[in-house]
């Protein structure tokens, strides 16, 4: 899985000298490139879904102190929130589990 600097096409310059502030280096191709891209695309969507969820459910309007069965029942009557929560769940699971996979690859040969 490791892509050595020498085998990388010149279009993807090594970022090693920059350290890790830049995140995972873009893989040269194959499934790993799709995984890299997916982390970024899902990240942009999660920026709205996850940050919005956290602000709405945990910060504004009393946060979790207002959450109980009745609150959830009313909230999930709405197709809008059902879709939001469903998309958030699917994307966060895929993004998070793929992130765990990348981490494991960093430490396991």
């Amino acid at each position: 899985m490791a892509i050595e600097a020498a085998k990388r096409p010149p279009s993807t310059p090594s970022r090693r000298a920059l350290g890790h502030g830049t995140g995972r280096e873009r893989p040269a191709g194959g499934l790993e490139l799709w995984s890299w891209l997916f982390m970024r695309v899902s990240g942009v969507v999660l920026l709205f879904l996850a940050v919005g969820h956290v602000l709405i459910m945990h910060v504004f309007d009393g946060g979790v102190s207002r959450v109980n069965f009745g609150f959830v029942a009313v909230r999930w009557q709405s197709p809008f929130w059902r879709t939001w929560d469903w998309a958030l769940l699917v994307l966060a699971l895929l993004h998070g589990i793929n992130g765990l996979r990348v981490i494991v690859q960093d430490y396991v040969k």
Binding site: M1, P13, G19, G21, T22, G23, R40, V59, L100, Q105
Partner: protein
């Protein structure tokens, strides 16, 4: 991926972005681990009001709400730092301003945490000390 030894040292030390890299990793793992628990507690909705209200009572405990503040901070940090990573990824020239962008994103995170800590911290103090802020 296994042997990512850089000319600057190991995977962990000596690179300018090491702290944000570690923080991004730690917050990402913390969030996904919480998500696993959160799927289970939310699934209890299916057992009706008695069961679900007992479960969410845990989240109303003042100390658990301190942890909740940490979770909110983790999501916010990861989100803002994630944007920073993507800026470097898609506009490679911006890595010249790595230091400035790192300061800007950390600053944005800290500034956003001020009102959030106030809003959530108020509830925590009210619950734990019986105050009326």
């Amino acid at each position: 991926m296994a042997k990512r030894k850089t000319d600057l040292g190991t995977l962990y030390k000596g690179s300018p972005g090491q702290w944000s890299w570690i923080a991004h990793r730690v917050t990402g793992v913390a969030i996904i681990l919480f998500l696993f628990a959160h799927v289970v507690d939310t699934a209890v909705v299916g057992w009706g009001p008695d069961a679900y209200n007992r479960v969410v009572a845990v989240y109303h405990n003042w100390f658990v709400r301190v942890l909740e503040l940490g979770l909110v901070a983790a999501v916010l940090y990861h989100a803002i730092n994630g944007v920073k990573i993507m800026v470097f990824d898609f506009w490679p020239g911006s890595t010249r301003y790595m230091k400035q962008l790192s300061i800007a994103s950390t600053g944005l995170f800290l500034v956003a945490m001020i009102p959030i800590t106030w809003i959530m911290g108020r509830d925590i103090l009210n619950l734990s000390l019986g105050w009326n802020l």
